[in-house]
Point group: C2
Chain length 110, copies 2
């Protein structure tokens, strides 16, 4: 997964009818670049990471991002940072698919 070429995030999206789909674009011990794919109505419940910072970016669609007890509407191109220990989550409150880049540093331990 060194990807020495151009990556179009949409090409890596995995949607699932059961729950949020996850896929990995790049992973090292330092960095995980993944995609979270939400059908309408799907969500990623509030959670937090000790010792890891996360960056979300909306690739397509729109949704509500939960951060520090607030609900923030976000659309394509918008970024959100969840520093370590800050609870965060995502809800696809719209009627179309929501695709989100989720970048985590360092990567989770295997």
């Amino acid at each position: 997964m060194t990807h020495p070429s151009v990556i179009r995030p949409r090409d890596h999206a995995v949607f699932s009818p059961q729950k949020m789909g996850k896929s990995t674009i790049f992973e090292s011990s330092r960095l995980l670049v993944g995609l979270n794919a939400f059908e309408p109505g799907q969500e990623h419940a509030l959670h937090a990471h000790a010792g890891q910072d996360k960056v979300y970016q909306v690739v397509e669609g729109e949704g509500l991002f939960l951060l520090e007890g607030r609900e923030l509407p976000m659309r394509a191109g918008d970024l959100l940072v969840a520093p370590e220990n800050v609870a965060h989550g995502v809800r696809n409150s719209g009627t179309s698919r929501l695709l989100v880049l989720a970048i985590l540093a360092p990567a989770p331990h295997k």
Copy 2:
């Protein structure tokens, strides 16, 4: 710089007539989320980072990204990963501004 709110990367861009402009969106010891802003003709020369992985994403414009001796044309939304020790650079070969998210993990030492 905890940014507990939605970030529109364009709002943080700093362009400079002299050379590539740099700005920081978020920084911790684990993660640096920055912007590299290129006027037409500006470039970031080939360089590499030991022990750090970088992700580029084009926010607006288009340019040539250098990676492992190759020149890769990229446009808005495209991602590129430069794992540690892999030489990389950027050249705005177009006629409009090029704005690039540059995410580095871990962040450089101060």
